[in-house]
Amino acid sequence: MTADERTGAARPRNASELLPGLRDRLLALDEPVAWDNWDDVVGRAGRARPRRRRVAGVGGFAAVAAALVVVAGPAFGLLPPIIDFGGATHAPAPVQQQFSDFDRAAPPELAPGAIASETRLITSTRLSDGDHTLYVSPTRDGGFCEEWTGAFGGCDQLGTTPLGVTWGGTAIGGSVAAAYVSSVKILFTDGTSAEPTITWLSAPINAGFFLYEAPSGKTPAQVDGFEANGKRVASQPLLGQPFDTFAPPPFAVTDKAKIAAAVSTPDGTATAYLAPSMTAGTCAWVQLDGTFASLYGRNGCLPHGYSPEGLAYRFIHIRNSVLFVGAAASRYARLELRLPDGATASLEPATGGVFLYSLPAASSRTLGQATITAYGADGRVISTNSLSDAS
């Protein structure tokens, strides 16, 4: 990077809101050309604050494997051996520091609570770009954080997510909760599939971890998780769409679904359902006239113990109906939807935080001007969102 090269002028998009004189002065400020370098970001992501805290050298795979104590796992039936987490080597101090940074780097409400001092060195896997070492720590809430050096990392604060996947390029990493998933299959766009080797850890982790590199010429499309009996209980598409909008969430136990809310629309009754998932979580969706929409994220279900965070909402257009639907955290006691014509609707989230409201058809033309205000149980405003600002 060189400080001498200049763009000529900064170009902040929002400057058009300013009065002309102020806008012109802002736009006249020049700045250095962009030094953006995504490869550098990726490289840093695989290291723990590289310039200050270099991760201590890690022995080869044989040395790592020798440090592990492998135990039989009755809870896992006939699954492959399980590594005794408590018997695994403690991670070096710089790695422990990195795990403690998980809490510091994230917004407070998203801090996973990793017990960094209990971080252990688990195993290593070699991909085409070199060796990647797996470190894992428990969290205070019974889950875990994991890090494949130079590749992926993440946390499942409660340890109940049946299948968590991250990917980049041809590499795919992830974790599975042992209570729900016994094997993983990676599907490629050409219709073939592969089963990555899973490294299983004992309590308090009770989960398996994998890092896999797709063969040259193969493009990963989806990762599925299966119970020991072969039943598919979790899935994450890497390329495509959320669940089929012509059916409920694929892992919902639909015969145990209960109605959470219902409203009349020009096309009949729209109904919000809650149902357990196949992996002890909760699914929520809305149904109207054969069309389904998720109320809980992309796949329609939350893992066991997790509940909606924040306020998520959207407008759904189905035939002649416009639905305002979503899910809110428990701290949201009431929502107020204000339309540009002055009409307002007050909604109280139902069980599971879900809400559902049918809008007058005429209002769909001006939804871009609607305002949503969320109130807490004490009546105080928690947030106000103007849809025109959220674009």
């Binding site: 006249a28 700045e31 550098d40 993440g154 946390c155 969102n385 103007s386």
Partner: protein, 158 residues
């Protein structure tokens, strides 16, 4: 609802410059701001499975960037307390009058002004990043815009 690598990369490619521009206003140089942006996106990339989608991704990364910047400042100055609102033009000599006009804004309002017009964040992103309501953001900007313009001698219709 973890953020995908692709989403973070797209955000990086779209927001690198405005993030660096705004961060430079309180790291003091574009070089150090560049380093903060790189480190912040690296942390976001490494921890993307912890993003739960209840706030805009840009706001989440921005808060990580602020944390990185605070760490850098604290280490550089060995100062425990750092005021995140202490932002100003990174190169005030380029327009001393504008720099002074911005400094006349109350710190919190000035920070919101920088997030809007230097970091190019939306109202919702600023609200999520600062832990305030969108209405508060709107009100702060509604007051800041004419205040800066008036200080610069621009006629403001009220």
């Amino acid at each position: 609802v973890a953020a995908s690598r692709r989403e973070i990369e797209m955000l990086y490619r779209e927001r690198y410059l405005p993030f660096r521009r705004a961060l430079a206003s309180f790291t003091g140089s574009y070089e150090s701001a560049h380093d903060v942006v790189q480190e912040a996106f690296a942390r976001a990339l490494a921890q993307r499975r912890r993003f739960r989608g209840d706030a805009p991704l840009a706001a989440w990364v921005w808060r990580i960037a602020v944390r990185v910047a605070l760490d850098e400042r604290a280490e550089a100055r060995r100062a425990a307390a750092v005021d995140t609102s202490a932002v100003g033009l990174v190169e005030p000599a380029h327009d001393p009058e504008l720099a002074e006009a911005l400094l006349k804004l109350p710190p919190r309002r000035r920070l919101i002004f920088f997030l809007r017009y230097f970091a190019d964040l939306t109202y919702e992103e600023i609200a999520a990043a600062c832990g305030i309501s969108v209405g508060t953001v709107a009100a702060a900007l509604a007051q800041a815009r004419p205040a800066v313009a008036e200080t610069l001698g621009e006629e403001v219709m009220r």
